[in-house]
């Protein structure tokens, strides 16, 4: 019987099956940031077990609040920093070199097809874009991952999502995943992997695939997974060229992780997205989704472009395309946070930062910041934000604030007009 990608990865990493249905996996990567890791570090110290299983497989970044905004966040940063230095974790990214975890770790080539990855962050599912099994976990799982290099899972079943047709111009990965979440519901994929297939995914860049997989958790999914192909190899090539004789050889190796033709799925969903329009959320759950057209005219106070969902170079290009030669409405504050220093640098070189600044945007350093209401653009009571992030929970970006999730182009259009706008109508 054939296997899904997740089943192959589980089989290859199985360390123990203490009870039927519970699989303890060996981990290839344990990613850490300064919000969920310090408590794990403190607990390990308290237990007299301040050790790491493999400093080379652990990567750490300060990203949620950076540079630190107050004494408490400074302490969190210091705890992570001191720990990274103490254990010679050389892939640690501090102020000046740091970026949003789910953008900077892939950018450094740390995630490969077939890998197992955990992090104390729910959007860890992003890394499934590389054909890896990547799952968000809590601090205790993270702590055991750091100490022992293992994590226990109920083996998830897989829902295969076929995305077919041709996307209309101006419709992008964010619109597709918002639509899919609307179809699945916020717990439609709980304890399941979403395995994405079809010509729409095959045509997507790695940036777009990361956007797609990033939001698997918003349907409850453990991980979103794309099939490794030449796009994956091309993205990783600078990091893997020493390991393979050619790109074809790398592809042949990575294809091992693709789902078998006769793999068994819990469910197969096929969406022809040819007629899909730009999508936006309403209400306080990410499955409350409708076409931007139906929300057009809704006033916004702030526009936020960035995050682990849509802060990559392709996203900034799409927003800049809309903003070029335009200025944002007087009633709106525009904030853009390129997700990593490399993306920031590329955006500078391409003139994108200039376009944002000419339009009237505030350009901030790479950080998670406003997405979860921690810094750099927190909303006041009653304010509305058009955001490229991934979560629209009540109060997410600030108590009493309202968030509408959308694509970078849609967010840019809202900045120009001051109201929710289909960018294609500008």
């Amino acid at each position: 019987m054939g296997q899904t990608t997740a089943e192959k990865i589980f089989a290859a990493h199985l360390r123990d099956e203490p009870f039927p249905g519970t699989k303890v996996l060996n981990l290839d990567r344990v990613f850490c940031h300064e919000i969920t890791t310090p408590v794990a570090i403190a607990d390990l110290e308290w237990r007299g077990k301040d050790r790491v299983f493999d400093a080379g497989k652990i990567k750490a970044v300060i990203d949620h609040v950076t540079p630190s905004k107050d004494s408490k966040t400074a302490l969190q940063a210091k705890m992570l920093r001191d720990w990274a230095h103490r254990h010679q974790i050389k892939d640690f990214f501090d102020v000046g070199r740091n970026g949003v975890c789910h953008a900077i770790f892939p950018e450094k080539g740390y995630v490969r097809p077939g890998f197992t990855v955990i992090m104390g962050d729910s959007h860890t599912c992003t890394h499934g874009a590389f054909g890896a099994f990547a799952a968000g976990v809590g601090t205790t799982d993270l702590e055991v991952g750091i100490l022992k290099g293992v994590c226990a899972f109920r083996e998830p079943t897989t829902i295969r999502v076929n995305l077919t047709g041709i996307l209309q111009p101006g419709v992008v990965a964010k619109d597709v995943i918002l639509f899919v979440i609307g179809q699945l519901g916020v717990n439609g994929a709980t304890d399941r992997v979403l395995e994405f297939h079809g010509p729409i995914v095959e045509a997507m860049s790695m940036d777009a695939r990361m956007t797609l997989c990033n939001m698997a958790i918003e349907a409850g999914g453990t991980c979103g997974i794309c099939q490794p192909d030449m796009t994956t190899v091309d993205y990783l090539w600078p990091f893997i060229q020493g390991e393979f004789a050619s790109r074809d050889a790398a592809l042949a190796e990575y294809r091992k992780w693709c789902a078998d033709g006769d793999a068994v799925y819990e469910k197969v969903l096929t969406f022809d997205v040819s007629a899909l329009e730009p999508q936006v959320t309403y209400g306080f759950k990410p499955d409350c989704v409708k076409p931007v057209r139906e929300m057009a005219g809704t006033k916004v106070d702030q526009v936020y472009i960035g995050t682990c969902t849509n802060g990559r170079i392709e996203d900034l290009r799409q927003a800049a395309e809309v903003l070029k030669g335009r200025t944002i409405a007087d009633s709106v504050r525009g904030i853009v946070s390129p997700a990593t220093p490399k993306i920031f640098q590329e955006a500078l070189n391409e003139g994108i930062i200039q376009i944002f600044m000419d339009a009237g945007f505030c350009v901030t350093n790479p950080t998670c910041g406003a997405c979860l209401g921690m810094s750099n653009g927190v909303l006041a009571e009653g304010e509305v934000c058009a955001s490229t992030s991934n979560r629209n929970f009540n109060g997410r970006m600030g108590k009493g604030g309202m968030v509408h999730l959308m694509s970078p182009a849609s967010a840019a259009a809202a900045a120009v007009t001051g109201v929710i706008t289909d960018a294609r109508t500008l």
Binding site: R15, P18, P20, V65, T124, D141, N187
Partner: protein, 178 residues
């Protein structure tokens, strides 16, 4: 450390109660569990529910609907219950990470079918909110006591989750084994 389970219950009548409602992100800058104590369910807006009220202070059990704990991976959500002596959640279903975090901390995230959750809510309504739920982990049974009535509910728990609770959590379990 092994926990105790059961006691007075508070009922939260809504599906999809998320981690931002349980503990808002602005408190994630704390580096100890204890510092979270005053903020339990602070952003949950629900008719008749007061995050600063006596009912929550008294509660040792939370009963709710489907997809409890969805959203973020923050273990601060189970911790804020833990430091408020709420070691038992009973719901129709959970988000994966929240459920795992509960068991990893040696606490109980018990699932009951929708109809049985409804029976609990009915019982609570009949008793005007005064309801106590005993947890018998050994025989996998809950006993709800309200207004002189007593009803019991069988629950399923995977052997692994049970082992975590009996070990006191995942760190203890993993440390002894790997």
């Amino acid at each position: 450390m092994k926990k105790t389970f059961g006691g007075p219950a508070i009922f939260l009548d809504r599906a999809d109660i998320n981690t931002d409602e349980i503990i808002p992100a602005k408190y994630l800058t704390e580096v100890t569990k204890e510092a979270l104590t005053p903020y339990c369910l602070e952003d949950l807006k629900l008719e008749g529910f007061d995050p600063k009220g006596e009912e929550l202070k008294r509660a040792r059990v939370v009963v709710s609907r489907a997809n409890f704990g969805c959203g973020s991976s923050r273990e601060h959500a189970p911790w804020v219950f833990e430091v408020n002596d709420i070691h038992t959640i009973i719901a129709e279903s959970y988000a994966r990470i929240f459920r795992q975090n509960m068991f990893n901390c040696g606490m109980l995230a018990i699932e009951l079918p929708a109809a049985e959750i409804q029976r609990l809510f009915d019982l609570e309504e009949a008793a005007a909110g005064r309801i106590e739920i005993e947890v018998h982990l050994d025989r996998q049974e809950l006993v709800a006591q309200a207004a002189g009535r007593s009803e019991s509910f069988r629950f399923e728990i995977s052997p692994f989750d049970k082992a975590l609770v009996q070990a006191g959590g995942w760190v203890e379990y993993a440390d002894a084994r790997y």
